[in-house]
Structure formats: C-alpha cells, structure tokens
Point group: C2
C-alpha cells in the first residue's frame, strides 16, 4: 500500500514505467527519449521530434522526408466529419470541437485490420489543424476552407489555414518551437488519462479522446489561455504589479506559474520566453511583454514561483495572431505525439490501471423501503 496521503492526487506515486521522457531530473531538466529539450529545439523541426516520440528514434533524412510527405497526404477531412463540424454550434469550446471530432473520426476510420495505431497517430497529427480551422472559419465567416495545403510543416500548415496566407517565417518558427516544447511530458494528467483508457485495451481513439478532454481543464492545458487572460487585463507593468499583488492578497490562483514536477525551473519557459521577446520586438509591442516580465518578477519575489511553459507561450501565440481560444487546441496538435507514444507503450506491456480508494462514507446501514422513509 502507498504511503502517500490519499488526497494528494498521486503526487510522487509511481504509476508505471516509461522509456519516453524524463521530467524534472535535477529539478529543471526535460529529455525526450534521452535527448535534452534544448538540443531538440536547436534541431528546429517538430516533425523529427514527433517521429522520435512515436517511432522511438530520430529519423534519418529519407525517413523524415517520407514522414513529412505522409503527413501532408493525410490532411483532407472526410465529408461526414466536415458535416459534423458544421453541426457544432459556433460558440462551442474549441477543445470540445477536437474532442468530438477525434471521437467521430474513430467512427469513420476505426482501428483494426485496416488501420493500425501508427497510421491513426499520423492521421490525427495531420488532421487536427484542419479540423479545428475548418470549424473555426465555417462559424466565423461561413467559409468552407480547403484543409489541404502544401506547407511542409505542421506549424506552417496551421498558420496558413488560420490566416489564409503564407505564414511569416518568424511566426512559423515560433509555433514550431512551441510544438516541440509541448510535445511530451511523462505522466501528466492527459497522458495518464490516455494510459488509463488504453489500459482496458480500448481503442486508440478512445485513449486520445480521453486525453483531449483531460487537457481541456484550466489546471492543465487551459493554463496558457488563463495566462493570456491574466496578462492582457493590464495596460502597463505598474498596473500589472498592483493588480497581481491584489490577487495574491486575495489568495487568487495565478495560472502559468510553478509545476508539480519541476522544483527549480521549467526549462521550456526560458526557450519560449526568448521567442516571446523576439516577437514582441517584431510587432512593436510595448505592453504585453513588459507586463509579462513584471508578473514574472513579482511571482518570483512574492511566491518564489517560476513561470512554466504556459506563461510565455501565451504572449508568443498572441504575437503570431492566434486567437486565445485556439491556444489549448495548439497544445493538442503537439501533444498528440506524446499521447500516441504513451498509448503504444502502454499496450506493449499492458496492465489494467485500477487503483483503490479510502472510504469515508456512511457505515453499513439498514435499507428502509421507500414507503417507510420519512418525508421531510
């Protein structure tokens, strides 16, 4: 039996083994299959990271070329899926769009003899941008966009479908880097949900659908949107400092800071902060980035908390012209790679994930037939 307090959300409890990722070694490190996140970012190619996670090793040039071509060939959406996206209300939460669309794609293209887990992983990676942006443009302006593009990379494909024009190179690079940073994070809640689902030997889509629904919450993927909401309410660093101090005095939860596993710092934050700074200068921003830096300083001084990946991702995405409500879906477009790797791994040595609970309810009690129950 565990020595953990049962209310601790399994913090520090080992729930399984993994060969995919280490998080927080030394309080501040992140490795995907042995490679430091800083090195993978320097490689500057989300698709090679996706390949590494799903297929186990970094690709060679021919492997990467073939992989990118395969992803490009998988971008077209089935008509029935487009119909479902049109049937969704325009004010649907974008994460609900992805959750339902992933589940529905599992109805149209089920796992089985015709289609294995690797093909489904590739298909989801290829289609999530088109799914989200088909729904988005249809309900924003009635346009049924073509979800095919000849962009080589997921980042460029997403930006082209969003803006309807060739992506600016620096925006594409920033989004590409963010996709690398968001791709994988060990037994985080959404990945763990995917493994719990896969642990009953359910199908691949069920596991990914669970993960999307879990990532949706503000304590997980929703944090980058919450960080944006925090940052953009202030017009200056001084206002931010005053407002943040009021929040802290009121014991409000400040999203985008601290982490259950990293104890020293989040190595991803330094990387995305640099991009937020660069893009801020490019677009002539004099508010969001200075406000962000001030919030970081106050959180460090008052709470000894460091920014996590979500905090500077928010302004970074904002500078790329990405609407705030699409931030968490972008997380999906990246993390699908880590989720896929974990589902594949869970299946290799599967064991049903079924913990137990401490009971705190009524002791055994006599059943009173309904006619004899007192009516208050």
């Amino acid at each position: 039996m565990t020595q953990q307090k049962s209310s601790s959300g399994l913090a520090g409890v080992v729930a399984g083994t993994t060969a995919i990722c280490t998080v927080g070694a030394g309080g501040e490190n992140l490795h995907y299959r042995g490679y430091a996140i800083q090195d993978l970012v320097a490689g500057d190619c989300f698709e090679e990271v996706a390949y590494l996670l799903i297929y186990g090793e970094l690709p060679t040039v021919p492997q990467l070329v073939a992989y990118e071509q395969r992803l490009i060939s998988l971008r077209v959406l089935p008509e029935a899926l487009k119909n479902v996206l049109e049937l969704m209300p325009g004010d649907t939460h974008p994460m609900d769009v992805l959750r339902t669309a992933c589940s529905f794609l599992g109805n149209l293209e089920p796992e089985g003899k015709q289609r294995d887990q690797y093909q489904i992983a590739d298909r989801l990676l290829a289609t999530f941008p088109g799914i989200l942006l088909y729904w988005y443009h249809f309900h924003q302006n009635g346009n049924r966009i073509d979800t095919q593009s000849d962009e080589d990379h997921v980042a460029g494909h997403f930006l082209r479908l969003l803006h309807g024009e060739a992506p600016k190179p620096e925006w594409e690079r920033a989004v590409n880097i963010s996709l690398i940073l968001y791709a994988e994070h060990e037994f985080n809640a959404s990945t763990f949900a995917a493994r719990v689902t896969a642990g009953t030997l359910s199908d691949f889509y069920s596991a990914i659908t669970s993960a999307i629904g879990t990532l949706r919450g503000p304590l997980h993927g929703g944090a980058n949107e919450a960080a944006m909401a925090l940052i953009e309410q202030f017009d200056s660093p001084e206002m931010a400092e005053a407002g943040l101090r009021r929040m802290l005095a009121n014991k409000a939860l400040v999203m985008g800071f601290g982490h259950r596993v990293y104890k020293v710092s989040d190595p991803r934050s330094d990387i995305i902060k640099q991009w937020a700074k660069t893009l801020s200068q490019d677009v002539g921003d004099h508010v969001l980035y200075p406000v962000s830096e001030r919030i970081e300083a106050v959180m460090q001084k008052e709470k000894k908390l460091f920014p996590n990946l979500d905090f500077y991702s928010a302004s970074c995405y904002h500078f790329c012209g990405i609407p705030t409500e699409l931030f968490t879906p972008l997380f999906v477009m990246s993390r699908i790679t880590g989720w896929a790797a974990h589902v594949i791994e869970q299946r290799e040595n599967n064991k049903l994930i079924r913990p137990t609970a401490d009971y705190t309810g009524p002791a055994p009690r006599a059943y009173v037939p309904i006619g004899e129950r007192p009516v208050a």
Copy 2:
C-alpha cells in the same frame, strides 16, 4: 513514494477518498453509500439507486416521482445529434456511438451557467437509451424512431425502444436489476478515468466521455460481450467443458471470471445468475444456461475463479432479446450514475491527479544533427 511495483497498474494503491461505495470488504461485499447491494436489489428500482448515487440519499416517494418524471421529460434528442447519429457508419462500434454522442451533446448543451452538473447527469441518464437505439434502428432498417416513450423506468424505456413494443415484465425486471448491479464500483478504470479528467477542472461531458472510452475495452466493460462470445460457441455442457479445458491448456484469457478487488466472490454474480436461470426457463433454453453453469464449474475446479457480474449478465441479456453488441452500452446506461457521483465528488475537494513514472529509457545522449545521422 509507493511501495508497489510500478508495473502493477496501481493495484492496491490508494488514489483518493470516496464516500460513494465500498467494494470487496470481507472479499465479497458491495455497498453503495452504506447500503448492501442485496438490499438495493430487493428495493427493485434502478431510479432510486441512481438518485442515491448522484444526490447522496435514497429518495422519498415525492422525490422519486419527481425524479422519474424529470428523466422522462429529458428523453427527446436534439435534431443535430440525430444528424450526427445518422452520419455515423452502421458498423460503428456501439460504444463509439455513445462516446461521440456524449461528446457532441456537450457541444450542443455545454456545462455552464445555463446547465449544471446535476442537470447534465440527468440528461445523459435519460438520453443514452434513445441515442443508442436511434442510431441502431436507423442503420439496421432506416427507421428514425421516436426516442420519447411513456415508460416509467430506464429499463422499460430501453426495451421498448429496442423491440418497438411494450416490454415483457420479467425482461424489464431483469434489466432493471442488472442496471442496479452495474451502477457503481468505486475506483474501477472507467470511473478513475473520469476522475483524472475531472481533476484538471475540465467539464462534465469530458469526464463522462473519458469514462465511456475506457469502459469500452475488453478488460473492463467489454467483458460481458466477451463472455457471450465464449458461451455461445458451445452447443452442450460437454462441449463447453472440453473446449474450456483446451483454452485453459493454451493459457487463453477467459473473460467473466475473477476480479481484482473481490477475493472470495462477486456478490452481484449470485443475483444475476438467478435471473439468468429464471429467464432461461421462461424462454425454454436448454443450452446457454447449462453451458454457463458448466463453464462456472470448470473455472472453479481448475482455476479457483468465481464468475463476476459480467458472466451471467451475458446470457441474461441474451434471453431478453438484446443483441450482444449492445451489452456494453447497457453498462454505460447504468454506470453513468456512478460516474456522475464520482465527478461531483472529485470536484468537491479537487486535486489534480498526476502520478509519476519509473524511467526505463535511454540515458541522456548527444543530439546528432539530421545531416550527420547514419542512414542504415
């Protein structure tokens, strides 16, 4: 840190507290909120059990009447949801139908100021039979059925929509009892998945969608269908014994026996076995029930394993004219009550559920730029 081996699927690890259910006390007991399952079955009303689980106490007569009326009033499906059910292929896995439909209903009727978690729980409980059987009849025979009925109870409503006529009283009672037995089971995998999803403060539909996808697997909800497939391949007890012994010799997994938590017996099995026997006599069966009893005897003798709820539920449902592929969806129509209770409870004292993992992958290694990687 836990003392459990990390590959053990959290068996015996306490992952939280609950006041809803105890499973396996003394190796063989089941209580919902302090009431023994045998007493709740004697009460003979799934709706009062649903009320007990979701609202915390057994209802009085006026409360139960109001609750049943409310459920009846919530049976009509939105047109857009019916469109989506029609867009699903006819050979979709019925659990995928429920998973997608639950997720899509969350797009149409999202949780928020207009609709709280109790209303959504009631709505899902009321609509799952109609969702499943609208899809089923449309693709079986092109009929767009009316999902409203004036049946008082979920069991009768399901059977009426399935068979298109007033349910036979003994079938309705058997299904009603099975719904009571399947309603709740502590931190089983699907419920735990719902709590992991709810733990990020995601919405109610996301949590239930995760649960459906998790229940789908053959190591969990799919076990009753697997049990049916086992039973119906034999034409006599003698053939069953010979076939089963061959399976055991080949170390095949026999579904419907044993349980991770019950160590002595599954108290639900005795109850549903009695119903399987009664219905077997009613329909003049001379094969399925005798075959089932022989399989039970061999498993007891050879493996010291007892039947769990899934084993005799299979023939019980079969005798009620329910197609095998709808067995696991029936589980959903019952367990939605337990899932709802657990999501509500998780939120009352929420903590993100985020375990950790033992790393077994490559040690930190140098990143080789793609142009320098050897091509095999």
